[in-house]
């Protein structure tokens, strides 16, 4: 028996297959993972993401603290509500976790970190925060629902009090706002438009019901994974971990090198990797043969070397198998993947595979 979110009973009522995820009893799917996936790409789906860890940081020096704690630079956050995706690195430049930071006020930033890494993240943040006199407050009493899909915001708008509704609909991408006792952000993990809504736990079941009654399809962790894979969004623990630098996980764009004198944790070893001509590529793969690519399968690049699939699966939108893989440095555009002893043909493609309902790669 794991931890239960405030929406656990809703999942059981809806016929969910419940699985353990990082110590939480979470819905894998509610009948058909593929249909849930398509609902998000074509209309709207809702995900219970209350297992994710919300942490509020408060203090006079909170911005300075975050400029030291994470690899992206919160100096970029100048408008209230603006969000930043970043990695939090260890002293070797490996990824402790990836997270989103919201700029609430000059003395209050909000982090959303992964559920499976909660304990080590909190311990690390608290340890580093001491020198900056920043208060670290986990908001376990908040629930979180992601509403995702081309019609998601329109269908979810009635859940926002009328006083705030239009302002919420006008939110720019990657920006959030407080709306009464809700926090609404135009963010997500699917490659579709939508909101992530934070709320007091007690309100979560009624908001869930209202969204479902409005035609939003409950979607489980299974669909969440195929959607994020198509969008080429990294999964912590699969695509990167404490032994992997963001530069070898396709996350170089999240590392802020300028200003050069900003000293963030992990910067020095990261600069060494940055200068190395041998650093591995992180690429998208499209399977040209029949079959399904899976995590940890061996990628063979003729005459170059070998790599590994970090996230592989079937793409319901494309109807073929796709993967993210870490492969050797070099200039090549095809490879083989060892699937149960057979070397299948894969093409290296530019990610994302799918974004906003559209296939973005050549088939």
């Amino acid at each position: 028996m794991g931890s239960k979110t405030p929406l656990y009973d809703k999942h059981v009522e809806a016929g969910a297959r419940i699985v353990d995820f990082g110590g939480w009893d979470m819905p894998l799917h509610y009948g058909s993972q593929k249909e849930e996936h398509h609902a998000v790409r074509t209309n709207a789906g809702l995900f219970d993401v209350s297992h994710m860890t919300i942490v509020d940081l408060k203090g006079e020096r909170v911005r300075d603290f975050l400029r030291y704690l994470v690899a992206n630079d919160v100096a970029k956050l100048q408008d209230a509500g603006k969000a930043l995706y970043t990695c939090m690195l260890n002293e070797n430049g490996g990824v402790i976790d990836d997270l989103i930071i919201y700029f609430m006020t000059e003395t209050w930033f909000r982090l959303v970190v992964n559920a499976a890494t909660r304990d080590k993240d909190l311990a690390w943040i608290r340890k580093q925060a001491e020198a900056f006199d920043v208060a670290v407050n986990e908001r376990a009493e908040l629930a979180m629902i992601a509403v995702q899909g081309p019609n998601a915001r329109e269908l979810a708008a009635p859940c926002i009090d009328s006083e705030w509704r239009q302002q919420a609909l006008d939110l720019k991408l990657f920006t959030g706002m407080e709306a009464g006792d809700l926090f609404v952000a135009r963010t997500g993990y699917t490659g579709e438009d939508g909101w992530e809504i934070l709320m007091p736990a007690a309100r979560a079941p009624s908001i869930w019901d209202r969204l479902v009654a409005g035609g939003v399809a409950p979607a489980g962790l299974g669909a969440r994974d195929t959607l994020r894979l198509e969008a080429a969004m990294n999964l912590y623990g699969a695509d990167m971990d404490e032994t992997i630098s963001p530069l070898e996980a396709g996350l170089a764009w999240t590392v802020a090198w300028e200003p050069a004198d900003r000293d963030f944790i992990g910067r020095k070893p990261l600069e060494v990797t940055r200068a190395s001509p041998d650093k591995r590529r992180f690429v998208g793969l499209l399977l040209e043969d029949k079959g399904v690519l899976r995590n940890h399968q061996r990628v063979v690049v003729d005459g170059v070397g070998e790599g590994e699939i970090t996230s592989g699966g079937f793409s319901p939108t494309i109807g073929r198998s796709i993967a993210l893989a870490r492969v050797p440095a070099g200039d090549y555009d095809s490879a083989h993947v060892d699937v149960r002893g057979k070397l299948l043909n894969v093409r290296i493609v530019k990610t994302p595979f799918v974004r906003n309902g559209q296939v973005r790669i050549e088939l």
């Binding site: 993972q33 996936h37 029949k290 079959g291």
Partner: protein, 130 residues
């Protein structure tokens, strides 16, 4: 949970067997197994004429979620494979006991039915697994 077909034999690995009139044995996975796997997206079939041995790998069914081996419950030779599954693996989800059969095997000897489960025994196994 739907009722189990009464004319089939079952395995602990959630496969079913049907004795056909032509002497072959059809094999597939049960409704319970397909539900646990979720939407199937690919089936790797053996070659016709290939030898299979009891407990050995025979096919692989892959769902959106994971790959899963299908074991042969008997010794024999693959007499036919269900080609429909190459283009439409979801047939196993929709009709696991009929159109969703996976292989037909010509047994190499008598089938030891005591090693297999009757519908009642298989139902008891499912009840146990909850």
């Amino acid at each position: 949970m739907s009722e189990l077909p009464g004319d089939l034999l079952y395995t602990k690995d959630h496969e079913w067997l049907r004795r056909e009139d032509d002497g072959t044995v059809s094999i597939g996975i049960t409704d319970h197994a397909q539900a646990a796997l979720g939407d199937l997206v690919y089936v790797e079939l053996p070659e016709v004429g290939q030898d299979v041995t009891e407990g050995g790998d025979m096919a692989v069914v892959e769902s959106v979620k994971a790959a899963s081996d299908v074991y042969s419950p008997i010794d024999g030779i693959v007499a036919a494979v269900n080609d429909v599954l190459a283009d439409d693996p979801e047939t196993i989800n929709t009709e696991p006991y009929d159109a969703g059969w996976i292989v037909k095997i010509t047994p190499s000897g008598d089938i030891d039915e005591s090693a297999l489960l009757t519908p009642d025994q298989y139902q008891a196994l499912l009840d146990e697994e909850g």
